[in-house]
């Protein structure tokens, strides 16, 4: 089994003599970010794909499997080129992965347009949930807005009277705050958009303190989150104004922030402590194999392989039977790390969302723990725009 | 004076604490070869710089061919017929000798917003360029890369470029500096040929060259012109002897 992507130049030479791909091998192209600072996420995703294959005995749907990994470098045009390469050169049956919404918007239509399955395992831009939905597109993650909607609902349930909201100044940042507002109907006293990739938030924290809100909501993914949390704690606000967030604290950033995140609230559809058989197996084996805590990006990618496995099984290895595989995937009949779920008409999961809190476990390690269920079987807000019927 | 080509009035230029040009007045007549001499640091190159338009004077005026050029920059003065050579050789080193002069011809011809036809295949540029190279004795070296020319040849090339712009006045900043005896004599003979045809302002340390070429000489010390006259007048002036030659020999 070959798991690395074949180089184009070598490929070009080989292609002159190579036989067409054997129908007995399932080919999966997995696009994620492997190099650069964001490579940490891609590493978790790739690890989880490999773990899923281990659990499946290196077979998918009973067939041999070949996974071709591609590094999108967080660039939509590179992602698109990788997709073309996987489709046209490797003639893959499935493309999976993709962290970023913009890369997904470039990749997904390319893949589905070529009549191939796109199994997203992270990005869930609203376009793909609504007007651009497609029968060959499935995701094992969520629609971007669902998570902040859950946080909005929780804050509303707590009857917090006024909230100060902050996010980076880009599309996802605005979507996140819009998502909160859909369920949070009390007052937003401040809505601040900071520069994408900003490092220092002291100026904004000073403004925030002066506004003295009851709570703060932020969306700061990756390094931005680490800096914001540290600086929020250093400004002495950690104990004073409760901080709620989405996609800001996760198992990648927790080891870098530690105590500065203590008491942080997040909403999410998955957590390592989710009690179901598939998840416990995934978490335990992941920690055993890779020596660190898995993160939701990984859980979704693990699920992606499992979903493909279920679909190939359902058609008994007949990879040309796309109708059959679509029908099988719509059942979501596999052991997901989040527990059982159903697909909405737009092929986005209808799933639970939980409130998580950063706490210290008995060993002193900081972990995210589920506090309560905010939403049960939550549907995304765009499925009505999707023309697909089934 | 109807015959005055260059008229300088009250020209001053200060660098920090140093007064490099101190209320300079100078007239250069059409056809004249006018040498400016003086010890190092007297402000000769600063004066040339202001004449050429590279330096802007703090006060004073420069009239060239009856027009005030004080506020014009170097390219505009060049197009009005003020050509120059530099103290340190300044050529297009990556181009052939012929290309160097072709560029000068082109600059003089104007109309450089032409994008299609190869400039190297235009006889209108190439022929005058060749002629200018022949004139300075570099005809045989036309296709040699300028950087590979001998030092003396590079100085000649500079003069050829200056001539190719068909100037009314040549500003020469130490044209024989760093040359061997042979080369320097060749250059002096060549410049002597140019005399009368072109007005020349010459800054030079080589007194043989100066006294061979100059119609009149101005002596600069500490940014001031302390004397102007014919070579024999300057040679005989006590002021000059004291201020310049005396100091030079001390």
């Amino acid at each position: 089994m070959r798991t690395t992507r074949r180089a184009a130049l070598a490929g070009f030479l080989v292609a002159l003599v190579a036989a067409p791909a054997s129908a007995q091998t399932v080919k999966i192209g997995f696009i994620t970010t492997l190099s650069g600072p964001q490579g940490a996420i891609g590493e978790h995703m790739k690890n989880s794909v490999e773990l899923a294959l281990d659990h499946l005995g290196r077979k998918v749907g009973g067939l041999d499997v070949e996974v071709i990994y591609g590094d999108d470098q967080v660039k939509p045009d590179v992602g698109k080129q990788l997709a073309d390469e996987m489709l046209k050169k490797h003639k893959v049956h499935f493309v999976s992965g993709v962290i970023w919404s913009n890369v997904m918007l470039a990749v997904a239509p390319t893949v589905t347009g070529a009549g191939t399955f796109m199994i997203g395992t992270n990005a869930g831009p609203h376009e793909l949930a609504g007007k651009m939905c497609h029968e060959l597109f499935f995701t094992t993650s969520w629609q971007n807005d669902q998570t902040p909607e859950a946080m909005g609902k929780y804050m509303q349930d707590q009857n917090i009277t006024d909230v100060y909201a902050m996010a980076p100044n880009y599309a996802a940042g605005k979507d996140m705050i819009a998502g909160v507002k859909r369920y949070f109907k009390n007052k937003i006293v401040g809505e601040v958009y900071t520069q994408l990739g900003q490092q220092d938030y002291q100026a904004e924290i000073s403004q925030l303190r002066a506004a003295s809100p009851k709570a703060v909501f932020v969306f700061y993914p990756g390094g931005m989150g680490i800096q914001f949390l540290k600086q929020y704690a250093q400004a002495g606000l950690r104990g004073q104004i409760p901080l709620y967030s989405v996609y800001t604290v996760d198992e990648i950033s927790l080891p870098a922030v530690k105590e500065a995140a203590l008491g942080q609230f997040e909403t999410r559809y998955w957590s390592p402590d989710l009690k179901n058989e598939a998840n416990q197996k995934y978490v335990v084996d992941y920690r055993k194999k890779y020596g660190k805590m898995p993160v939701f990006y990984g859980a979704q990618s693990y699920d992606g392989i499992m979903l493909i496995d279920a679909a190939v099984k359902a058609v008994k290895g007949d990879l040309t039977n796309k109708k059959g595989m679509i029908a099988a995937m719509r059942q979501a009949d596999y052991k997901s790390t989040r527990g059982p779920y159903k697909y909405n008409v737009n092929h986005f999961p209808i799933e639970n969302f939980y409130l998580l809190k950063a706490v210290q476990d008995p060993s002193g390690e900081l972990v995210m723990q589920i506090q309560k269920t905010v939403f049960e079987n939550h549907k995304d807000s765009y499925s009505a725009e999707c023309p697909m019927k089934w | 004076m109807a015959d005055t080509l260059l008229a300088i009035r009250g020209l001053s230029k200060r660098f920090g604490g140093l007064l490099a040009s101190d209320r300079i007045d100078l007239d250069v007549a059409r056809g004249e070869t006018h040498a400016i001499i003086g010890p190092n640091g007297a402000g000769k190159t600063t004066l040339i710089g202001q004449l050429a338009g590279d330096l802007r004077p703090d006060s004073g005026s420069i009239h060239f061919a009856g027009q005030d050029v004080t506020r014009l920059d170097a390219p505009h003065r060049a197009r009005r017929g003020l050509a120059r050579s530099f103290q340190v050789t300044s050529i297009f080193r990556e181009f052939s000798a012929l290309d160097n002069v072709t560029l000068a011809v082109q600059a003089h011809a104007g109309r450089s917003f032409r994008f299609w036809r190869s400039a190297r295949s235009e006889p209108a540029l190439r022929e005058p360029a060749r002629a200018a190279l022949e004139a300075v004795g570099l005809g045989a070296r036309a296709d040699v890369l300028a950087a590979r020319l001998a030092h003396g040849e590079q100085r000649q090339l500079e003069i050829a470029m200056a001539l190719a712009t068909e100037p009314r006045m040549l500003l020469l900043d130490e044209p024989v500096a760093g040359m061997g005896l042979d080369e320097s004599q060749k250059m002096v003979r060549f410049l002597a040929m140019l005399r009368r045809r072109i007005t020349i302002v010459l800054v030079e340390h080589d007194m043989d060259a100066v006294f061979t070429l100059a119609d009149r000489i101005s002596v600069m010390v500490y940014g001031r012109i302390i004397a102007t006259g014919t070579p024999s007048e300057v040679r005989g002036s006590d002021d000059v002897r004291r201020a310049y030659l005396g100091e030079d020999r001390a």
Partner: protein, 315 residues
């Protein structure tokens, strides 16, 4: 013999590029059409930069800005339902040229490091402007509604047709560029690069010529952007990020600046190198970085110098 070797290299290169579609079709590997088309599009961007960088000595660290403007000039009309290619591409060239005129008018007052930084600053401003264009996807960018339409046999949805369009533009640009750098105009900007003081002393005012060259390069860069938008069918402000400018610059250096054909090789080799190395290891940048340094230190005339032999450039 240098000239014949150079000509040989050019003819061989051109023939090779022209043969990609039939070979790809024969081997049933249409992907290589996409790959080489993408390389040629970046080659167009690199050649346009070479005009000012290699011949004009203007180290613009913001050339990716035109890539972005060109892409948006296709994407925005397409978003509003205008898919006429002549209009879109014309707009791409005009808008980039206009931006270059403004950027150049300010930047060319400075030189050296200040020039590098100010061109970078302008590109960054445009990058942030792109992010703030919410209607057009902001940071996410947007999908191109459809490839530009030209009518008749020019149907860009046909991969081979699009390929030959890009190849034709590349050849046209190289031809025009080749004429331009040898023309009176080209001689002026090369002279100004070689020795600006001397150029001024013989009567050239370099600013006007440099600005014109800057505008021409910007326009050509914009056209590359329009092609890139059609290639990826997606456009984002990321096209304008400063690292993208660095990449284009590196293509020029790698191939050999001031050679016009060099940047084409540079673009092909850099993109292949990225592809090959990233297949070897996720830590491919630790190999690419030192390769960059070695090329700068030891291969001053770039790869074209190695292929085409001595005297690939003058002036």
């Amino acid at each position: 013999m240098a000239i014949s070797r150079r000509t040989l290299a050019l003819v061989a290169g051109g023939a090779l590029l022209a043969l990609v579609p039939p070979i790809a079709a024969l081997t049933n590997q249409p992907f290589y059409l996409d790959l080489f088309r993408r390389m040629m599009i970046f080659a167009i961007a690199a050649v346009s930069l070479d005009l000012i960088l290699g011949y004009g000595g203007m180290v613009s660290f913001g050339h990716a800005a035109y890539l972005g403007i060109g892409a948006y000039a296709v994407g925005i009309p397409a978003f509003h339902g205008v898919d006429n290619g002549w209009l879109q591409w014309g707009l791409a060239i005009a808008a980039s040229a206009l931006a270059a005129a403004v950027i150049g008018a300010v930047s060319l007052r400075t030189s050296g490091v200040s020039f590098i930084m100010i061109t970078l600053a302008f590109a960054q401003m445009l990058y942030y402007l792109g992010i703030s264009l919410e209607t057009y996807g902001g940071d996410n960018g947007m999908r191109l509604a459809g490839r530009s339409r030209f009518g008749g046999p020019i149907d860009l949805r046909e991969p081979a047709v699009f390929y030959y369009v890009v190849l034709a533009i590349l050849v046209l640009l190289l031809t025009l560029g080749n004429r331009l750098v040898a023309s009176r105009f080209g001689m002026v900007i090369r002279a100004a690069r070689s020795n600006e003081v001397r150029a001024r002393a013989i009567g050239f005012s370099p600013f006007r010529y440099k600005l014109t060259a800057f505008v021409i390069a910007g326009g050509a860069g914009g056209l590359a952007g329009a092609l890139l938008a059609n290639q990826t069918e997606y456009l984002t402000p990321d096209f304008m990020h400063w690292t993208r400018s660095g990449e284009i610059m590196f293509m020029v250096i790698l191939g050999g600046m001031g050679t016009l054909f060099g940047p084409v090789i540079g673009a092909v080799v850099l993109l292949l190198l990225e592809d090959v190395l990233s297949a070897l290891t996720t830590h491919w940048q630790i190999i690419l970085g030192p390769i960059l340094i070695l090329v700068v230190l030891f291969a001053k005339r770039g790869l074209f110098g190695l292929v085409a032999g001595a005297e690939t450039r003058d002036g």
